[in-house]
């Protein structure tokens, strides 16, 4: 019997396992479906990871290596090439791999750390033919950085998420011509720094309020039509431009990978597409925790590690001290707050501060995040330069929650002050 099984050996799983070990949990197993640990970090060869965690701008593989080194000094067991198939009600994890075949591992606690995957062309339905040469940005990244294949010579990138921006630079360095990065929104969701160093450095145009309206080509992409869109994101007739390209990359967002979670009858929050969790990242199912991009898509790996460390410690606390009473406040949102994690805060959490992470639906220069119980204001946090692409954190002292007594819900709202 394991104390803790961690599903997924990417940044979240590595940090969670390490944190639980440091808290005194000794029988820990990480199950990873890939040949090696590290998850998506292995193909993210660019630097900029770890500025917060390590005070250095590391590449993805280096960042993973730091955590793998920490694990090497522990007794945490790792099984790679292992696919988890199901998690039973009693937290028995069913998995399969080439050495052990089909196996069932009972565990006192389970941490879900499966990460996320990319949205695809199907998810955004572009009209046109179905030729070769259309890739999600992350797939192209894997082909280039792990497998050593060049994906194309003349490239258009749809979407200006960070992976698309990083790939614009990567392709250019390897000799491809990136004709444009096309973004349907009036602002890019990518980090400003990535726009500067991946597009501006190489003179790649960023076409805001534009989208791809047709893919041309028979066997291989021969071009794409790009059109300007109006404020309702509808293409404007007469603005068609034809780009002569052989490749289209899609960088149109990430979705938490929660098939296992769904199969385990753990309900998902439609806003985050991750599980509903308590303040300690425990899901509705006792002893099953979730953290990292499987819970909600994070901006930076540093934040994933931070959340996973917290979840690993919380799982350790559960294993050692048992379940805390589930009497809780539900967290609701309004005024442009699109979601919060956690969605439930125990009345007796045992924590001095409860961090509430959230996103907002628009850019706000100055605004307050207000937490209320009914008509009673519990806390107010002044924030500046809010944007949908940047996660917001408020640290709510537990003592303030006494003001919410008699209520079942805490409302988190955004109020613009300028």
């Amino acid at each position: 019997m394991y104390d803790l099984i961690v599903v997924g050996g990417g940044p979240a799983g590595l940090a969670a396992a390490n944190a639980a070990w440091q808290k005194g949990i000794k029988k820990i197993l990480i199950l990873e479906r890939d040949r090696e640990l590290g998850g998506i970090l292995n193909q993210c060869i660019h630097n900029g990871f770890g500025v917060k965690t390590f005070g250095e701008a590391l590449s993805g593989p280096e960042y993973a290596y730091r955590f793998e080194k920490m694990l090497e000094d522990t007794g945490v067991e790792v099984k790679t090439d292992t696919m988890v198939l199901d998690i039973d009600d009693d937290r028995t994890v069913e998995a399969v791999n080439p050495t052990d075949g089909f196996v069932r591992y009972p565990a006192k606690a389970v941490i879900l750390a499966m990460g996320c995957r990319e949205r695809t062309r199907g998810a955004i339905s572009i009209p046109g033919t179905r030729p070769a040469g259309v890739f999600s940005a992350g797939t192209a990244q894997r082909y280039m950085n792990i497998d050593g294949f060049m994906v194309g010579k003349r490239v258009v990138i749809l979407g200006s998420g960070d992976i698309g921006l990083i790939m614009a630079r990567r392709l250019t360095l390897e000799g491809a011509k990136v004709l444009a990065c096309v973004e349907i929104m009036p602002v890019s969701s990518g980090l400003r720094a990535n726009i500067a160093r991946c597009l501006d450095d190489f003179g790649i145009p960023l076409l805001l309020s534009h989208t791809v309206t047709e893919i041309r080509g028979d066997k291989r992409v021969s071009g794409v039509t790009v059109q300007k869109v109006d404020e309702h994101m509808q293409p404007i007739p007469g603005t068609e431009q034809l780009f002569d390209c052989d490749t289209l990359l899609l960088s149109v967002g990430l979705v938490p990978e929660n098939e296992l979670t769904k199969n385990a009858d753990i309900s998902l929050d439609p806003r985050t597409r991750g599980a509903y969790v308590y303040e300690n990242r425990e899901t509705e199912k006792e002893g099953v925790f979730a953290c990292g991009n499987v819970l909600h898509v994070h901006d930076l790996v540093d934040f994933v590690s931070e959340e996973a460390t917290f979840a690993g410690e919380a799982a350790a606390d559960y294993i050692l001290n048992g379940e805390r009473p589930r009497d809780c406040y539900r967290v609701t949102t309004s005024g442009g707050v699109t979601y919060t994690v956690p969605q439930m805060i125990r009345k007796d959490s045992g924590m001095k501060l409860v961090n509430i992470y959230m996103r907002v639906n628009r850019r706000v220069r100055k605004g307050d995040i207000v937490i209320r119980a009914g008509e009673t204001e519990i806390a107010r946090y002044h924030k500046e330069n809010l944007a949908p692409g940047e996660m917001i954190n408020t640290a709510l002292p537990s003592v303030l929650m006494q003001k919410a007594e008699g209520h079942d819900a805490l409302e988190v709202a955004l109020e613009e002050t300028e």
């Binding site: 040949r35 292995n42 060869i45 660019h46 630097n47 900029g48 500025v51 701008a57 590391l58 590449s59 993805g60 593989p61 280096e62 290596y65 280039m144 950085n145 792990i146 497998d147 050593g148 990567r170 360095l173 390897e174 980090l191 400003r192 720094a193 726009i195 500067a196 160093r197 450095d201 901006d299 930076l300």
Partner: protein, 115 residues
């Protein structure tokens, strides 16, 4: 006055620099000030890419310059790197090229490939 985005960390401060007095505004830390000054004289970047490796499981070895190199040396550096071949085992931090394209900066491995 020149405006730019600081590339020192994910925060991405919008910097303004007076090209005469070299006075920097908009930065939240001293790194931003140094960045802006370097950016108007000799912009520097860390180059990250891959080289071909002979090993059991890996085809490509991720590498980066140990320190930033001049932006103007990027093309020469990439041109040199495309002919570099290495053989496993390689450790994180191993020097792959000691002086990359006359920049004086080494190219280092960023992944361990043990066999």
């Amino acid at each position: 006055m020149r405006e730019m985005t600081c590339l020192e960390c994910p925060r991405g401060c919008q910097l303004m620099i007076d090209e005469g007095t070299l006075e920097v505004t908009g930065n939240s830390c001293p790194k931003g000030e140094a960045f802006a000054r370097s950016e108007i004289t000799n912009p520097m970047r860390v180059l990250t890419t891959t080289v071909v490796i002979r090993s059991r499981n890996e085809k490509m070895l991720p590498v980066r310059t140990q320190d930033p190199i001049p932006k103007s040396s990027m093309a020469a550096a990439m041109n040199y790197i495309k002919n570099v071949r290495v053989k496993a085992p390689v450790e994180v931090g191993d020097i792959i090229v000691s002086d990359l394209a006359d920049t004086g900066v080494p190219l280092i491995a960023t992944k361990r490939v043990s066999e």
